[in-house]
């Protein structure tokens, strides 16, 4: 699974940057075509949902998707599956 921000919905409030325990969301620095600064994703493959959603059969954590007031955060299927090397610091 792949974590994505839907740029057509995000309004750039940066609430997602405040809740992720891995600090995957970082404040962006570039205006998109709608004039909104969308957060950047810092190594999103560290999110447990990207790695383990299939294994557990349910959504884990999900705090960013719940707090996003504009329903812009979601996980997408990856096809073909791209292998990632994931380093998780404790």
């Amino acid at each position: 699974m792949k974590l994505v921000i839907d740029e057509s919905r995000c309004k750039g409030c940066n609430l997602c940057t405040m809740v992720c325990p891995y600090h995957i969301f970082q404040e962006g620095d570039r205006l998109n075509e709608r004039g909104i600064i969308v957060p950047k994703l810092d190594r999103p493959e560290r999110c447990p949902n990207c790695r383990l959603q299939k294994l557990y059969g349910r959504r884990l954590c999900g705090a960013c998707a719940l707090i996003c007031p504009d329903q812009a955060i979601r996980w997408e299927e990856e096809k073909p599956y791209e292998k990632h090397k994931v380093v998780i610091e404790y």
Binding site: K11, M18, V19, L66, P69, D70, Q71
Partner: protein
């Protein structure tokens, strides 16, 4: 299935301002409804007037967008006419406490089997930032340009006193706790009241030196205190700082309820 399946995606993005907490509260409510496993056809969302009350328009189920403050009156009617429906009410502090105040206390007294989610942003956001019964003392609004002087309505305490079966308060920062509280409310027969403090950066924050969304979130994060902790502090005779907002589960009880399907 996730809460996204309950949204009318053709209507998104919604009209709420950047960083408005109402979207978060809708997410949490829909997540709780989703966890209950309810069917779209058996669920009704009802709202009055205000920013919060635009919520049912973005949800797939049947909904009623009613007159100002009267959401609970319509909801009582829907529930008593067909007790098999699951009725959830979205409302705001102005809608519920000011204009619909009487409906609120009597819905609590009758203990009708409803779940009410109140998005308390402490101001009338949609009509331009007038002070509401929940505007904190000292806060600036368009009707209190020198700072609000009136004492504040504590909606959760009011619901406890008026007789609701389940009362909880959380904020739009505490998404997991809020989801759990809404789910507990949906499970409890009788009147369930969940107050969600939300940030309103446009009408409230802009006038009260909380212009950034993160300022309002930090205000809520640092100023809440768990109600059990507050009670422990009171028992030990310690002073609880004035500005602390108690959050958590206020009451869960089993008074006789109306409109529960037999």
């Amino acid at each position: 299935m996730t809460f996204m399946d309950w949204y009318r995606e053709d209507r998104l993005p919604h009209i709420y301002c950047t960083g408005c907490g109402n979207g978060t509260v809708i997410n949490c409510t829909l997540e709780a409804v989703e966890q209950m496993g309810w069917a779209v056809d058996d669920t009704v969302f009802i709202s009055g007037i205000g920013c919060s009350s635009r919520a049912p328009g973005y949800i797939k189920t049947d909904s009623l967008h009613t007159t100002h403050g009267r959401a609970l009156a319509f909801a009582t009617g829907v529930k008593l006419a067909n007790p098999r429906l699951n009725v959830v009410v979205f409302t705001g502090d102005g809608d519920l406490a000011a204009i619909g105040g009487n409906h609120f206390i009597h819905a609590c007294r009758r203990n009708v089997d409803l779940t009410v989610v109140c998005m308390n942003n402490m101001i009338y956001g949609m009509t331009g930032g007038q002070g509401s019964p929940c505007t904190p003392v000292g806060a600036i609004s368009t009707t209190t340009p020198y700072g609000a002087v009136e004492p504040v309505f504590d909606l959760s305490e009011l619901a406890v006193t008026a007789g609701a079966n389940y009362v909880a308060r959380w904020t739009s920062y505490h998404v997991k706790e809020l989801t759990k509280a809404v789910k507990d409310g949906l499970e409890t027969p009788g009147f369930s009241f969940i107050e969600a403090l939300t940030q309103c950066p446009t009408a409230y924050g802009r006038r009260n030196k909380l212009r950034q969304v993160s300022d309002m979130i930090n205000y809520m994060r640092t100023n809440v205190i768990l109600i059990q902790k507050k009670q422990r502090m009171l028992e030990r005779g310690e002073a609880v700082p004035e500005e602390k907002i108690p959050v958590g589960e206020f009451v869960r009880r089993n008074r006789p309820a109306m409109g529960v399907p037999k």
